[in-house]
Amino acid sequence: MKKMKLVMVGNGMAGVRTLEELLKIAPGLYDITVFGAEPHPNYNRIMLSPVLAGEQTLDEIVLNPWNWYRDNGITLHAGKKVVSVDRRQRTVRAEDGTEAAYDRLLLATGSNPFMLPLPGADLQGVVAYRDIADTQAMIEAAMTYRHAVVIGGGLLGLEAANGLKLRGMEVSVVHHGDWLMERQLDSTAGALLRGALEQRGLHFLLNAHTAEMLGNDQGRVCAVRFQDGREVPADLVVMAVGIRPNIALAQQMRLHCEHAIVVNDTMQTVTDARIYAVGECAQHRGVAYGLVAPLFEQGKVAANHLAQHGIGRYQGSQTSTKLKVTGLDLFSAGDFKGGEGTEEIVMSDPFSGVYKKLVLQGDKLVGACLYGDTVDGNWYFELLREGRDVGALRNQLMFGEPTA
């Protein structure tokens, strides 16, 4: 019998994890073709920060080397960006004209960095921080230039800033908020983090709103100007102000999208049951995830369904974050901000630079934000995901998993 054809658009972590899951449970069910826009096999995007920081090499962060595709009979079109899909003919076509037919299509297009639409955003030396190319551009700039400005004091921005600093640059982080990582931390932890990073030599401009990037004669950025008129020198500007799900192709395919491609609990697009979407480009029950753990869970469900088992359902994920700056431990998970109907337990130890916040709803842990000591992060995450009753543990909770 002729095998079904599965085409995957996007060669990133969520998609390839789906293939791995699929190969595990239904090897040989599909002829698989993968299109990837980057000229690399699947690598661990999360580990770009250690690469930038010089702690790991590019080779070390490759998850699935070339021969993995070969060994599993997967046709890989690396460096070929898919530009159109004909849903009636069920064909996919790349920029260079490469075409592939599909019975099932898996969209794993990920997301794009959001570039602030500011004057000078097109100057040389203004980069995003998303992929290997960006990382290499930053590493190269660090060898030549002195001043770096990172716009965005979130997770990614701080990792970029830290990496550039370690590569010898003078780094200023520009952040529009009152404190760093306000999506992951409250003001206390944000202030602790800032203090720790300042000790490492980073500069911070909080409540700063960028007005424009100024260029030199060569068309390269040379400074950043703020709305209040201040200027800081900048030979490299890294924009790390957020990501946007990459849904251009899906929109062109007339799949129903909101801020990402809308999928159901089996990760099928609501518009076309032959087409699945996983990862940052997918919107499930209103949420598009940007973290790796939920994407893997999605991949597992999608693989299960593609394997025609049909029993997996994705019901959403609790998420957790870690900052990958060596020596700075930071963890947040779930609804760590709290709010109506939730209760907070907070602990801080300025001497060890530790701050912890746990958010409870009734007797259940629904969120955690740990700074400085993340040893118990996994335990909290487990309690949180399992929705365990922690009422009896409550006074112990902050002090870690009870030993026996």
């Binding site: 209760e343 337990i345 602990m347 300025p350 060890s352 006074n395 902050m398």
Partner: protein
Amino acid sequence: MSPSTQTRSTCPYCGVGCGVVIEAQAGQIIGVRGDPDHPANFGRLCTKGSTLHLTATAEVTRQTRLLQPMQRAARGAAPQPLGWNAALDGAAERFARVIAEHGPDAVGFYLSGQLLTEDYYVFNKLAKGLIGTNNLDTNSRLCMSSAVAGYKQTLGADAPPACYDDLQHAGCLFIVGSNTAWAHPILFRRIEDAKRANPALQIVVVDPRRTDTCEIADLHLALQPGTDVMLFHGMLHLMLREGWTQPGYIAAHTSGFDALAALVRDCTPEAVAQVCGITQNALARATRLFATSPATLSLYCMGMNQSTSGTAKNAALINLHLATAQIGRAGAGPFSLTGQPNAMGGREVGGLSNLLPAHRDMANATHRAEVAAFWGVESIPALPGKSAIEMFQAAADGEIRALWIACTNPAQSMPDQATVRRALERAEFVVVQEAFAGTATCAFADLLLPATTWGEKEGTVTNSERRISRVRAAVPPSGEARHDWTIAADFARRLAGRLGRGAALFPYRTPESVWNEHRETTRGRDLDITGMDYAMLEAAPQQWPLPAGATQGKPRLYEDGRFATADGRARFAAAPYQPVAEPRDGRYPFSLNTGRLRDQWHGMSRTGTLGRLFGHVPEPTVQMHAQDMARQHLAEGDLVYLTSRRGSIVVPVAASPDLGASQAFIAMHWGPEYLGGRSSTGTALAGVNALTTPAHCPVSKQPELKHTAVKILKAELPWSLLAMAWLPEDQALRVRAQLRALADALPFVSCVPFGGTGRTGVLLRAAGHEAPDSSLLAQIEQLLGLSGSDTLRYADPRRGQRRAVRLQREGAAAHVVGVLLAGDTRAEAWIRALLQDQLPAQDFGRQLLSFQAKAPAGVQSRGKVVCSCFGVSESAIRDRLSQCSGSGEQRLAALQGALQCGTNCGSCVPELKRMVRATEALA
């Protein structure tokens, strides 16, 4: 630097009246030591006396003293400063108006046994001479009035017939209702000396509690509270049966014995054993010792006096001395120990509502006429004025409308605080003349007048053995404070004008001029001191009587068998035994006793300024028998509602081996300044005297502070708070007062200082049904310096859990300097030791925030401080004792040699001996 000065003066605490030498420099007291030449102490001082200079530092003065006249526009408002002239004019105006509208008896003066004789004299003349009211009473009413009445009823005059020197001559010491070891430590040192010099000396202690005084006792009679009269009558019964009385002496020098003998016929040993709760053996032994010793000296204090049978108790004990002729000889006699430093002096000038100067009686028309003539006034009102209890009742009833309170703190020390508070609230005009700004009474004042205090005052005091000593100023008055007698005289002159009388009654320019006038009143009286003058007192303290022509006073009285009665015979008093006013019953099943702590004084306005004086007993507790606690399901430290028919307070409970079953004890010091809270109806809890009864002895009018029937029920206040921190010297005391006030909305609060040499901290404990608003906790943290970035924190607001631990780093080491535990405070058990003992805390990290009651390895509390002078803790003593060998005395000596404990003031020696005994010898 200017050279330091040495000024001889007298200690302002108890009635032993020790001489002190004050060292001062540049207007500041910098040291104190015992006066080696003073016959009361020969250079010794107790824990309180030896730390006097520390209560007079610039920091303490700034934080605790009343430094300028203040007035309140309305009750409850913050007082505003005003000038002395305006203050005194205003006071005179108000008093004059009240007197004009409602008569002289609408005003009252409530004074203090801590005033000097000169202060007393001027006030007494002001009330009884100028205004024409006898409404002048003092806190001596709560202290010595039963002793006064007992002496007068039997011996004819208010004169303790013995002297301290008698301790060396006694063969038997009969100590009744007196924890001498704590209340009169220097006298107790002399008792120890006497016992050492004469091991045959037999010491009997009669006290419901097994106090530290019992340490030296050969026999302790733990009688039931209030049954002393029955005991004494029973002893007389036995003496008669055994033929131990001295019929010859009785016949020659006394009257009224037959009636007494008839009365005691029913007081058989069986009856006494049953009523008093002692064995017949013990009774027999005590009786034999008393009657047959070559010389028996009784020493007694509040256990006898603070009773509805106070006069009867005093008289019944004196009966025994008369019946056995144990009086009028060296080493024999009934010796009342005065509680206050100058209760004696106050009595000498007639400073009670029923007395006139020089032991004259108000009831006696001749005496009244003598005094009126001496003062140059028309007459002295015949009716006795209101005694303390009556005075506040009258104010509560609206009868007394203006109150002048000097040097005492009735809103702390008077029984039945509900009535006292009603009185202070209802009175139209309340003047409080005080040295300290933070007393409970100050809160009720319309006018606050700053008075000088120890170290600043000039005058005289009389101690328990009738010895008059000079009090001298070492430094000028603090702030705008004035001497008490000056304030009284300045006010009197102003009032005289408004009452249409001349100011000539108050011509005094110096304390000596006041004293000289007082001296003249004593001419020909039992306390004749016309042979004394200030110059003589400059040289050395003198005992009265010392009439003109004599060169020295009389160490003991009645040696010739002639008493101060009309017929020269002592009178036996035949008062039957009466039980306490409020016997315990099913609803109030515990006998609550009150009394002193070793290192505190009265309402603690002075001792409370020193953290180290809280080392011995750090916080308020009510003590109970361990079995009573078990029966009530109470654990050590549990909060209880301590409730009498008049009120309720919340206080932690502690087991005490000193108490009998169904008895409870709380220190008298824990007034609302330190122990508070709020009832479910929103009434502020008023400290220990919210409970006590106004029932008083019908003769002496002294209230029964030593016995209140109470019930003790566990207080379920699940949210608790412990907050404590070391604080800068110039802030700690003010912070303490602020914290105390801040936490007052909670059902339970106690707030005390703690500390050691040169360091002061503050400890706040509170509890409630639920967590208070977190802003309150934030304020507490702020006051305790726990708001900074050097503080570890934990907060679970929904559960009412909050913790803050402030660490101070010194290199690699870290110490806990402040802590707040709210909600679950069980970690106090070890965190408190980390803070107070300054143990290394760098290894604990976030464990400091944890809830565990058990200490992480490495924390061991030093326990309470036994020796305050050298800061030696219980655990250090135990450790050391485990290495000592030999007899008890040898081990004590080894202990003292190694740790110095008990080698300075000696106040802790009884406790050390107890610990020595409790520890097995190595040998």
